[in-house]
Point group: C2
């Protein structure tokens, strides 16, 4: 098995990505395919000890940046690391999937254009893994691939998200909830109300739809798959991140303001570190792009080596458990059922 790693476009520069890829060699038997400037990669690799049979290099001289228009960049920058990584991912049957920490827009556009959508999938979606207050994980689909959605997209996000959580996190029957403004059936906006009706009318066994939820309960561990459009999902996930950071910051400044508290914090050092670790999303890797024809993980632009390592681990897991195959199968079987159930409400 091979994992393709685009080393360009990340905030901390290519060396950090290479470091993550080399570290990931310890986690599986997969071969890393590093895509970027060959001379640079070779020079960097001199700093590590590794089995040369487990690192492949694809030379690519260009980089796509956040300033590039995604569609133009994918079409025109044919020598870019992202385009070459996508091509390698598509054409080499040994490749399980790819990781990039580059421009989200370019990764999305590139994956859809170069790898293609799974047949029947209207819109691929981004699915990050987020820790709950307990020891479990949940995902939010979509967190930013689709700004304006139709109800049927949300139904597909639900199906893909449930398969992802089952295969990735071993949740037998993931609880799927629709993000709304209250738990009552009638709460929501036009999009969520229509999506609610469609999710409710899916044949038994397609997804374990438990109804509407409030964003307040995102981290309780009561749900494994939170369904919404990419604008709302992005706001949700970033609000959670920002609020958690703020509380930690306030805690720090409260501690700094008092001698007694500083003393107390010394005793609590391990616990405070435990708290920080529990809230550390980066240890869980990046966001999977579900619905394209190979595994793709978009790692955060500011990813450190350990996040890249975790993102590579996600691809390995997705490969081992054939998540793309499972999503294909589920889309074929269950979404045809959904389409039939939907038919009367369409024009």
């Amino acid at each position: 098995m091979k994992v393709v790693v685009d080393i360009m476009g990340a905030d901390r520069g290519p060396a950090e990505i290479i470091k993550g890829a080399v570290e990931a060699l310890a986690d599986s038997r997969a071969v890393m395919v590093l895509v970027g400037d060959e001379a640079f990669i070779k020079a960097e690799l001199k700093g590590y000890q590794y089995d040369p049979a487990r690192i492949e290099i694809v030379d690519a001289k260009e980089a796509i940046t956040n300033d590039d228009s995604p569609t133009n960049a994918i079409r025109e920058k044919k020598e870019s690391s992202l385009v070459k990584a996508l091509e390698k991912t598509k054409n080499d049957p040994e490749v399980a999937g790819m990781v990039s920490a580059g421009s989200t827009g370019a990764v999305l556009t590139g994956a859809i254009l170069k790898l293609g959508r799974i047949k029947g999938v209207a819109r691929p979606c981004l699915a990050p893994l987020v820790p709950t207050a307990g020891d479990t994980t949940f995902t939010v689909v979509d967190t930013g691939a689709n700004m304006d959605c139709k109800p049927e997209y949300l139904v597909q996000f639900a199906v893909m998200g449930a398969h992802y959580m089952r295969a990735m996190c071993g949740v037998e029957n993931p609880r799927v909830a629709l993000v709304s403004v209250g738990v009552e059936d009638k709460k929501g906006n036009e999009l969520s109300k229509e999506a609610f009706a469609r999710l409710k009318s899916l044949p038994d066994g397609v997804v374990n739809f438990v109804g509407n939820m409030e964003a307040r309960d995102a981290m309780t561990g009561d749900y494994e798959v939170l369904v919404c459009d990419g604008f709302v999902g992005n706001v949700l996930i970033k609000s959670v991140e920002g609020a958690a950071m703020t509380v930690m910051k306030l805690l720090k400044s409260e501690i700094a303001a008092s001698f007694r508290a500083k003393l107390g914090a010394l005793f609590m050092k391990k616990s405070l570190r435990g708290l920080k670790r529990k809230m550390d999303y980066s240890a869980l890797g990046g966001a999977a792009l579900l619905g394209v024809d190979k595994a793709v993980v978009k790692s955060h632009g500011s990813s450190k080596a350990k996040t890249i390592r975790a993102s590579i681990g996600q691809i390995v897991k997705m490969g081992e458990r054939d998540i793309v195959g499972k999503i294909k199968e589920s889309i074929r079987s269950t979404l045809s059922a959904a389409a039939e159930a939907d038919a009367p409400s369409h024009e």
Copy 2:
């Protein structure tokens, strides 16, 4: 000045609301008009010492609950505390505004039907006060009054929210930001992109529009007015609330798991309490309903006495500073300018 207080419909029952209203007597010279079952109110008031000239009672035998359909309840439950409170608020010129901790839907519907919208306001919006990481406050407009919005509603929310923050929190030139998925001008969904264009093209001085923002930065103190539709605003505010609660819970459980940490927490007691107090939204009161023709504050259903007291304080402040008058004036002057600027993009 009088403040009308609907004592019914709250989760903790009417006695808690009465307690908050009596406590609020200490904060200003306003008269409290308690609306609910007269015999019950009189019996409760026996437990307090207060100036009888500063409490008025309006008898109302019925209550509107969360199970009632808002529109039907307002039309049919004419003896309900909410309907009577709204009528008193409308008809008594000495009344600065009203507070209710009852059903949000019924308060919204009732306020619009009974008090009426300010001329020119397309949709009133809910504006809560939320603490930042510093010592400042911000608002999110709308947090749930309007699930599906047009771009022009968001422009009005921005104008009303800015006037509210200026008058309530003394912010000279509140920074108004549009909630989006990135800070770049082109980021967003159809609604936010169109709202962005309209906010950008407002004549100078109408609002201090600083552009798009990410939900991650909601609590940084960089913005005083966050603009979005009511669905997104509701998700944002509840995500923040849920994440903050989760971190506090994790902190508690980390402390409970270790003897050393428990010892440390003893030393940190004051700091931890300070943190909790800083994050306590309830001390800031409820959400103002901006755009109706008198001041209305919707206090949280689970409000304790001190939240009711703070909500009453908001009404007093809104009365003293004539916020409704200022919004009227701003809508008249600036939104006519906005309408002219908008005209070409309308069909």
